[in-house]
Amino acid sequence: MPKDDMGRTMFERGRPGQRGTGALEWDIPRPGLAALFPDKFRRKKAPRLPELSEGEVVRHFVNLSTKNHHIDKGFYPLGSCTMKYNPKVHETLARLPGFTTLHPMQPAETVQGALELMWRLERMLGEISGMQAVSLQPAAGAHGELTALLVVRAWHLSRGEDRKKVLIPDSAHGTNPASAAIAGFDCVTVKSGADGRVDVDDLKSKLSSDVAAFMITNPNTVGLFETRVEEICAACHSVGAQVYMDGANLNALVGIARPGDLGFDVMHFNLHKTFTTPHGGGGPGCGPIGVKSHLAPFLPSPRVTHHDGAYGLDRPSTSIGPVHGAFGNFLMMVRAYAYVLAMGPEGMADIGHTAVLNANYLYGKIKGSLQTKYAGPYMHEFVLDGSPLKKTDLHTSDFAKRLLDYGVYAPTIYFPLIVPEAMMIEPTETESKATLDEFAEIFLEVWRQSREEPDTVRTAPHNLLLRRVDDVKAAKDLVLTHPF
């Protein structure tokens, strides 16, 4: 029976007329729908929502939930995603009625605590990053990228320049070019050098007075610090271009080095990575941006102000305008604020230290199998080249699926594009040595199987609720809603 039940939706359960909530009280007269809406507005055919009791709904979702891997279950080495432990107190605090019941249109004097929290968090992020002004409004990293590029665009325009190009390394995350395009820029790709870092000569050759910004991830997506960052920034600045840091990998730097000190003009944070707000199966995130002071006037409105002990809101005319209907994902800010308080200066420094040590330790344990394309040491993550798997006609995706069989998640795969058959591993600082050792053992075992019994790997997974999922069929059939 469990097998038959796999994938059965709510729409295939229940019975007509059932509902999971009790009838509401009518302490006022009930005019009836006909009296409320003229016929032309009234819905004729009810939406086919499930008809289940509360118990059935709960059972459905509880059982669904257990079909997920998640951090509280086991190791989650997704590179670039910083799957670290999310402290439970954040969940409690983000559920305080004093935060959850606030309305975005309330008068400022009734939301002083919320504004204070945002004001303080902006400054904390500023101190951590070495940036001079911060906006918390973007709802995720990509949203931050886009917002930051709009800020850069506004700055250029304010100087009478309508620059058209944004330079982006070939190792960049897909959101970088996508954000640049939506911000109205043309993307120009900068090559990576033989060492996996930006090819500075290629960069220089592409810099011009039409370049609005260079977007660079640091540490970059192969886990390497951009050692020539000063030279890069200087070159960009010399043609009037801004340097943007994709801060998705900030976890590696906290307490070790600050983007602002490195020369960057603007960056985004992923609170759902570095500041451990939970990923929620794909969000909500929070993607604040930090800027040097020359860009500050252009940050999204409203801005939180603080005068004479009172917090307020301001909408400067220089601002690019709002990028979110309200203030962004406020409850994620609550969690990040609590995290910074828990860490303090000492704890913050430990984050980067342990993240870097864990990554290099883990690579040390497994490098007898697959190897990286670019030499380390690495920062918080490393990227294996999966090409040797081809010898037994396997792909990185096969290897990944086989890892799942051992109760761990797979690394990020096929990203970045500059490493063939890439397998990107980020252990994070919250995993113990014991867990790293266990993962290394699993990894080496799968490596052994890849050579000695490749079929086991090719047909993985074997131990999960499902065998290999047919994504080709999914893309062909495109069944995107339940066929009633």
């Binding site: 729908l33 891997h69 009625p97 605590g113 101190e127 990293g141 610090f225 080095a257 709002p322 409850l331």
Partner: protein
């Protein structure tokens, strides 16, 4: 561990960072606090706010307080949903995948559309994504015939994106009597910008809380080669004919309220539904149904060639992380309510507004417009009464609504936009009516 890492000390690991660029001092942050101490501090901040459990609030504008059954958070808070990443590895992520598939189905059903994506940041950005999508559906056109009675907070966000995208907005005003979009004005825009319009953009209920009559609108848009983009309140759709029934091409909006607390407006949940024919232009993630190698039903992310990680600068959107966990909240909420429960909540909201309207009638306070409201409506108070009303509300710890003129040009300064929901008791409504009647009644 250093030995295995191939170094003898930590500094060797970060030698790639030029020494002078490293931070030589501890960060200037508050000292590390115990869970007990930081909980105290956060509670203190929370108590500095006056939440809607302390104030009687009639604020709406798309962020509406509804009662959330306890089962919602009991599911949302399961770490299986909370601490998972985007479901990349389908075999170990069926929980989130099936949940999103079910969410997609329910949002499509509610809006009367064929398909839905897996979420967008919020209502305002869903409108923007809908507009970007419309430009793609219309092969790059950049003009928008947009109703002036679309939520101004959303329009502002669209404005932020307009410059870099080269968009032009052709405003379509509202009718003085009904508050609905001005049909004549729309006809004029359509005629005046033939061949340039990507979309006709309307919202229902509009910013005045009034249902827009969508009949015939799709044809008008299509005749102009544009798509019909409708921002719609999902709760209203429980009892009002949904945009899909009127041939809308893209429907967007905000799901906050349906299982999601107002939380200063975020995290909310932007949705986008459309026709299957427009799938290739749709932004964001989408989950499809398939089978595994043994033919067992399974779900996975699909149609990914639209997305940034594959198509990069040619992607339909830059969105990556979206509002995943909020779709869990909305899914549980909608599943608990079912069609009956959802309709009852909607009817409660509308009936409570009618109760307020009836009450104000006695004090000769009339709606600003004659249109059909759902749960929100603008009431016209006598000139000069605003200060009196505000003072009386302050004393009563009541937020009576939003003064429309703070939001929108061209409306009288004493128009108050009042939003009711099932959470307002009769006493709450009576209090509002009595304050508006005495402080705001005809002097």
């Amino acid at each position: 561990m250093f030995a295995v890492a191939g170094v003898s000390k930590f500094e060797d690991l970060v030698e790639a960072i030029p020494a002078h660029l490293r931070l030589a001092r501890p960060l200037d942050l508050p000292h590390s606090q115990s869970e007990m101490a930081l909980s105290r501090e956060l509670r203190h901040l929370a108590e500095k706010n006056r939440g809607m459990s302390e104030l009687t609030s009639f604020l709406g504008l798309g962020w509406t307080k509804h009662f959330i059954p306890a089962a919602v958070d009991s599911i949302v808070s399961r770490s299986e949903f909370t601490t998972a990443y985007t479901p990349y590895q389908a075999e170990a992520s069926q929980g989130s995948l099936q949940q999103i598939f079910e969410y997609q189905t329910m949002v499509a059903e509610i809006t009367g559309m064929e398909i839905s994506n897996a979420s967008l940041y919020d209502g305002a950005t869903s409108l923007v994504e809908g507009m970007i999508m419309a430009t793609a559906c219309s092969k790059g056109r950049k003009g928008f015939a947009i109703a002036s009675n679309v939520n101004p907070r959303w329009r502002e966000v669209a404005q932020t994106y307009a410059g870099s995208n080269g968009w032009t907005f052709h405003d379509v005003g509202w009718e003085a009597g009904t508050g609905a979009r001005d049909r004549a004005a729309l006809a004029k825009v359509l005629a005046g910008h033939a061949g340039k319009l990507a979309a006709v953009v309307v919202q229902t209920p509009n910013v005045f809380g009034l249902l827009e009559d969508l009949s015939g609108l799709a044809d008008l848009a299509h005749q102009a080669g544009a798509v019909l983009l409708v921002a719609a309140d999902p709760l209203a759709c429980a009892i009002a004919e949904p945009p899909g029934s009127f041939g809308a091409d893209i429907v967007v909006g905000e799901m906050l309220g349906l299982g999601i607390p107002t939380s200063l407006g975020g995290p909310g949940l932007g949705y986008l539904t459309t026709k299957k024919a427009h799938l290739r232009q749709m932004p964001g993630r989408v989950v499809g149904r398939t089978v595994d190698a043994e033919g067992t039903r399974a779900y996975c992310l699909t149609a990914q060639t639209r997305e940034q990680h594959i198509r990069r600068e040619k992607a339909t959107s830059n969105i990556c992380s979206n509002q995943g966990l909020m779709t869990v909240a909305a899914s549980v909420y909608l599943a608990l309510q079912g069609p009956q429960g959802l309709a009852e909540v909607a009817e409660q909201c509308a009936s409570r507004l009618a109760y307020v309207r009836d009450g104000l009638q006695g004090a000769k306070i009339r709606p600003l417009f004659s249109g059909t409201p759902f749960q929100e409506e603008a009431f016209q108070l006598p000139p000069g009464s605003r200060a009196r009303v505000e003072a009386a509300c302050k004393t009563a710890r009541l937020l009576p609504g939003i003064w429309l003129s703070d939001l929108l040009p061209g409306v009288p300064t004493e128009s108050l936009l009042v939003c009711t929901s099932e959470t307002h008791s009769r006493q709450d409504l009576d209090l509002l009516v009595s304050i508006l009647s005495s402080a705001g009644g005809a002097a």
